[in-house]
Symmetry: C2
Subunit: 459 residues, 2 copies
């Protein structure tokens, strides 16, 4: 694609209002290219582009725009164009757009839809947000099990253009209950007079319309189909979910998880499109919460002020001790958050996980604790910092690191499970959140061990 | 699916070696259900199950198993079964499996393939690892542009069963160069005697066979097709990439990023399947590196030992100051890592990003710095901790927090870009990594400000 080369020319033509030349140039552009162009244009300029491209380009390009850009563009386009685009759009993308609008805008747009499309839109909007029902499309091909292969093929010729996929055909009974899904290949290969009933093997996976949309991502990991049917609890076929929508969904969910792990509220727009005010609203609250949590470290250390005054050397190792706990906790929580999201573990495994993490944490603690001890021992050869008490100081550091790492690992692995058990998002137990939690307790562990080993010598 | 209910019965039948009853029960199971069953069975028991299910179930179930399980199972199955499964498997999944083997195993398996399948396997293995070439499948339908619709439909009937998708048909010239891709719907709707050439619009997106597989994920975000064609640099059609493979890939890449953000080397298997030894190998090195990094905090603080001895109150705020920098750094680096992965920003934007993050970091620092100052002021009313010097102490804390947060934010946002510039994976600049980096510099900022504001009073 050499659209980067063509862009400056297009910008110039837009500035000069050269509509005919523009229309000619844009004629061969792909929807993806047009969408990329629109990203660099004002809403008014986008509307101009949309008025010059053909109907098919228009709705396909529109579907590729951000939801925000779609909402803005709707106001700038002529009513007739809005009507064409809305009616041409796939039902699931249209539902995503309509969700973004307030009720007044929504009503205005619904009036532009044909009666049939309006019914579809309203029924999809009737399902809970983030449910399979919002994600599904009613544009699929369902045929009666009593039809012959010839009747099915004729039917596909008549209505197939609007279907989101022709790879899979859905077979229903007279009442519309799903009997099976079957590959188009099996139909094309069969004899023209054969009833499709004879092609069924009764093996299919279906999703419940009210289930959470997350379920869809996992369903597709376990199938080789490009679409999965959606039914109500009784088995009535309501729609299908196609894998391309699930891909977008999977990306969106992973982005949310990653941003939460980094202690940011999930951004709704690409990084560069988020304004300063919104960026602060997404970032400041978490930092403030963590800061208030960390204030307890100052309080906790207040209790040990006398010990620090007597043995200043203890203060030197504070960042080392607390960060060791924080790092091991971040590690464990990130692993568990991801394993939960991928369905590799469930809350029911908590005891198995705890056992694994206690062993892992103890060994990691041993390694780091030894390193800490050796560090004090080696430095002692070269400096006067620790003096005659280097051995109890080294032991204090080594043991504290070991216990803090064990503690951080166990806390980090259990916190996501606890949050999930409480109905919260496990990803909220972000690395910084775990680190803050472990910091306060880590200091208490450190100074307790110091009091135990150093009282009588340094303290 | 009530397979959880049936499982105990199946286990019992396996124990008793009741092959006939087993075969009867398993006949109606879906591949996804069989794969779930296999996860609970030993390799020998899995081989028994595979000997009882039909050919279609066998290869579809096999494709759903982990790569590790596949490798183990290959040894346990009879040669004839291995042959059937390998030949039936889709080419991309087979390539993924063959990649896992050492050269001796590989040669043994290649001999079991038909000549045609062997040629396909060898050619796919010839592309660089993680390239589009390894991911693509040669099982697609390509037709000559001079054919009529009738010829195309006849061709699909003959060879369509083996194609990974029938949604999209690829049109090539006499030499095999890609002319266009077109929806099956357009073919079904057209007149039987029409040449397909007349159906082309010349609009298609294709991928280069040597490009990195990451490109595929982004390509599908920008298309509504279920498959995208792959060509060489000259435009010769070599294969297609289907969206279901890209879904697995997207999940895998996100998992790697998330684990790196949490300072774990990417795990190759699900959490529960990773043994203790491997778990330590993936986790200990990063913790050790971070620990060694944190050792510099002790060294840095060694320089300020006198200051701490004179003003122990300074030590109390050390965890607060360093963690504020770490948290804001984690936030910024996570945002940038994700935006890079999604293609929302590029290295070229570094100056725009830096400007944004300096402003954001300054404002975040202002908020947290004020909080820190207020904390000291309020405590001063209730305790004797700060005495007459509460104001300079409060200013020291507030200013240090503000500067450390600004510093952490800028470092956190620039480090992923720097790593990417150096050809490393940006996700390596994990939250703990940034935190460690900021800890050392944060302490220096803190004690420098303290020296500036408190010399003459406390110091």
């Amino acid at each position: 694609m050499e659209i980067e080369v063509e862009k400056p020319l297009i910008f110039a033509l837009i500035d000069q209002g050269e509509k005919n030349q523009l229309a000619e140039r844009l004629e061969t552009w792909l929807p993806a290219e047009l969408a990329e162009l629109c990203a660099d244009l004002s809403t008014q300029e986008q509307a101009l582009v949309f008025s010059l491209i053909d109907r098919e380009q228009a709705y396909q390009t529109f579907e590729l725009l951000d939801l925000n850009a779609q909402v803005l563009l709707l106001d700038a386009l002529r009513n007739r164009q809005v009507q064409l685009i809305l009616n041409d759009m796939s039902a699931d993308n249209r539902t995503a757009l309509l969700e973004q609008l307030d009720s007044e805008q929504l009503n205005k747009l619904l009036k532009l839809l044909t009666q049939k499309e309006r019914r579809v839109a309203l029924s999809l909007l009737g399902y809970p947000e983030d449910s399979i029902g919002r994600l599904m499309t009613p544009d699929y091909i369902a045929v009666n099990q009593d039809w012959t292969v010839r009747e099915v093929l004729d039917y596909i010729r008549r209505v197939g253009e609007k279907s989101e996929t022709l790879d899979v055909i859905y077979i229903v009974d007279d009442m519309g209950y799903l009997m099976d899904d079957i590959n188009i290949g099996d139909i094309l290969l069969a004899d023209d007079d054969q009833p499709v009933k004879e092609l069924l093997d009764g093996k299919f996976t279906s999703l419940l319309v009210t289930a959470d949309e997350e379920v869809a991502v996992n369903a597709f990991s376990n199938t080789t189909r490009v679409a999965v049917p959606v039914t109500d609890a009784g088995g009535l076929l309501l729609g299908i979910i196609t894998v391309d929508d699930v891909l977008d969904l999977a990306k969106k969910e992973d982005t949310e998880d990653i941003q939460k792990i980094g202690a940011v509220e999930a951004l709704e727009d690409p990084y560069m499109d988020v304004g300063l005010g919104e960026m602060l609203r997404k970032r400041a609250p978490w930092l403030v919460v963590l800061f208030i949590g960390e204030l307890f470290t100052a309080s906790a250390m207040g209790f040990f002020e006398n010990e620090i005054a007597k043995a200043v050397v203890l203060a030197l190792f504070i960042p080392l001790i607390v960060s060791s706990g924080g790092n091991s906790g971040s590690q464990a929580s990130t692993l568990i958050i991801r394993a939960l999201a991928l369905g590799e573990i469930t809350i029911g495994d908590w005891w198995k996980i705890m056992r694994r993490e206690i062993i892992t944490g103890a060994l990691l603690g041993l390694i780091l604790g030894l390193l800490g001890f050796v560090r004090v021992g080696v430095w002692n050869v070269f400096t006067e910092l620790y003096g005659q008490h280097w051995l109890p100081i080294g032991l204090t550091i080594g043991l504290s690191v070991a216990f803090v790492v064990l503690w951080g690992t166990v806390m980090g692995s259990m916190m996501p499970l606890l949050l999930k058990r409480l109905g919260a998002d496990p990803a909220t137990s972000s690395a910084p959140f775990i680190a803050t939690l472990v910091d306060v307790t880590g200091l208490i562990i450190y100074f307790s061990i110091a009091a135990l080993l150093l009282t009588g010598s340094l303290l």
